[in-house]
């Protein structure tokens, strides 16, 4: 899906699942992605896994960004499974927030593309997200030839 001028416009869902509402991080990342020229779908906190899968499907996003400040990342492996079950295995999922090293390993094994820790610049974060969006599109075009308009 190319813009008319030929530039690539990633579609990114920025959201929070689970029980916590600390949303400073997700709001800043959403604003940074928007300012970097991406199409951002932003939700308030406390989304269910099912709601995120539905939104990701309907909005046809390239990257799902999950912000976790208070252990909600512990259910991200369930989200990964739910995305695969919905046929969205090509989407790239990134997690940002407070994630201990030993649990980061579990997330990466479940298919999460990258965990962003506190201290990264917004420029680094948006550059990575753009790259993952490219990956997701390439994977989608590869596995489903002709599926994209």
């Amino acid at each position: 899906m190319k813009e008319q001028d030929g530039s690539f416009r990633p579609r990114v869902l920025v959201t929070k699942i689970g029980l916590d509402g600390h949303d400073r991080g997700s709001r800043i990342v959403a604003a940074a992605c928007r300012d970097a020229g991406m199409e951002v779908i932003y939700t308030p906190p406390w989304q269910t896994i099912a709601a995120v899968v539905k939104l990701a499907l309907e909005e046809d996003v390239d990257v799902v960004g999950i912000s976790s400040l208070a252990t909600d990342h512990l259910i991200v492996p369930k989200l990964m499974q739910a995305l695969r079950d919905a046929g969205l295995g090509n989407m790239r999922v990134v997690v940002g927030g407070i994630v201990p090293d030993n649990e980061e390993k579990v997330l990466l094994e479940s298919g999460v593309r990258q965990v962003f820790h506190p201290g990264g610049t917004m420029d680094e974060v948006t550059t990575r997200i753009r790259a993952y969006a490219h990956e997701a599109r390439a994977a989608g075009e590869h596995s489903e030839p002709g599926a994209q308009p």
Binding site: L19, G21, D23, Y42, W46, I98
Partner: protein, 561 residues
Amino acid sequence: MNKPSEAPLLAEVASARRALWEREYRETMGAERPTANVSGIPIRPLYDAGDWAGHGQADAPGYPGQPDYTRGIYATMHRGRTWTQRQLIGLGTPDDYNARLLEIMARGATAVSLIPCNSVYRGYDMDSVEPELLGTCGVVVDNADHMDRCLEGVDLARISCALNDPSPFTLLAFMLVAAERRGIDWSAVTGTSNQSDYLSHFVANHMFYRLSLPGARRVLLDHIAFCNERVPRWNPMSVVGQHMQQAGATPAEAMAFTLSSAVQYAEECIGRGMDPDQFLPRFTFFFDISLSFFEEIAKFRAGRRIWAHLARERLGAKDPRAWRFKFHAQTSGVDLTRQQPLNNIARVTAQAIAGIFGGLQSLHTDAYDEAFQVPGEAAARIAVATQNILREEAHLTDVIDPLGGSFYVESLTDAMEEKILAIMKNVDDAGGMYQAVESGLVQRMIGASALRFQQRVDSGEQTVVGVNAYRADDDAAARPSVERPDPARMQRHLADFAAWKAARSPAAVAAALDALTRAAEDARGNVFAAVVDGARAGLSNEEICSRLRRDLGFGQPLAFV
């Protein structure tokens, strides 16, 4: 002593010296980027008598324990009684929590704090949420039995309990039922309802969503009225700036929004016929202490002064106890870094000193590992030791308000006061804090400030050691592996809860829920009294919360990017 005739000459000399200094400074420094603090107040390279409006006035800056309390709310301040060391705890099951509580009390803690699981905050019982999340950020307390178990071995007639308990205050209801079962009169029960400030939850979101704004407003007033009458030693109102500053508000914004919220709550209490001299002394405040050292000190000094005027002049309180700005403060977690985490001990130390010099009544120092996990035991001990070292080794408490009279601190206190009052004026113009939150004005201002701060860090204008400067190889060894609650014990807690639910009489549960609805529908009923009755009758946290959500409306989050 100089003779009067020499005074004009001396002033001329001082003025010439100042000009000399200024010339030398400018020549040496060359062109300089203007400096401002986080709240946007320009900071000059030097302050002298001319920068402090009160300088030379006989009553400036006043005395501690005397209005307007710039130098502290008590005559003795930290010389008399230092501050309460209230470290937050909460984890796992009630058994886990009780073991940890008794252990820290054996080591000298004199007050209880209870942080419930996020499921409790959100108004859900443990059988309604993802089991992976249970007890990871607080203790799972869903009924009066659980609370009784949490506080086993704690004398509720003597020990002050701070409950992180948002509207509709189910945790306090559970605790009052536990006290009743132990034969303890409610008039002896003491402590604080932390998180009763629903406006701050709507602003900063966090984990507290339960009731609609009008519903939360109603229940808060019922709760304050109930406590004033039935639990007179309880502090039902804690007005919170901490959430907003952690969410990105500048120190001046956080103080302004908090004071505006306090005015909103107090005026509503007065509107219900309550006497400010009775309820205002039970108002407390809770703030963040960021790393902007002098700005934080000035924030607290200015806030104390503004509150003294507001309480007396705007709210009409006559009792000096109502004018005193009592506050708990917590060092800022947002300032901590995951990189080189031991550096956080230095950050927390600087933040704590700012809070102490700011005249706090109660302090929580963050553990150095909070940037990457819920604090571990070893890190939490260092946080407590930091307070002991500052107090007893560094002698920070030997002198009351030691920065009082500093040209810079007094000038900055005045400038912060002016800034805070200007923001409060904006809130008043928007119809008060309730409407400013309902319309999203406050959220937008905070969002813009958060973005501005992030841009300062990203551009390097604001240094963060180990993050955008002085980077070193990442030392993963400094970050211990995190332990979560024992799944087997949590499973047992779940099974016990299911059995407890099944053993209740469905008719009694239905009757208790109907009583809640009747209280909610009767404008003269007291919803919190009905919550206590429901807790006694065996209702769970979720049952109470979901019935009140149905009857009083569910709070939908406002989200702005």
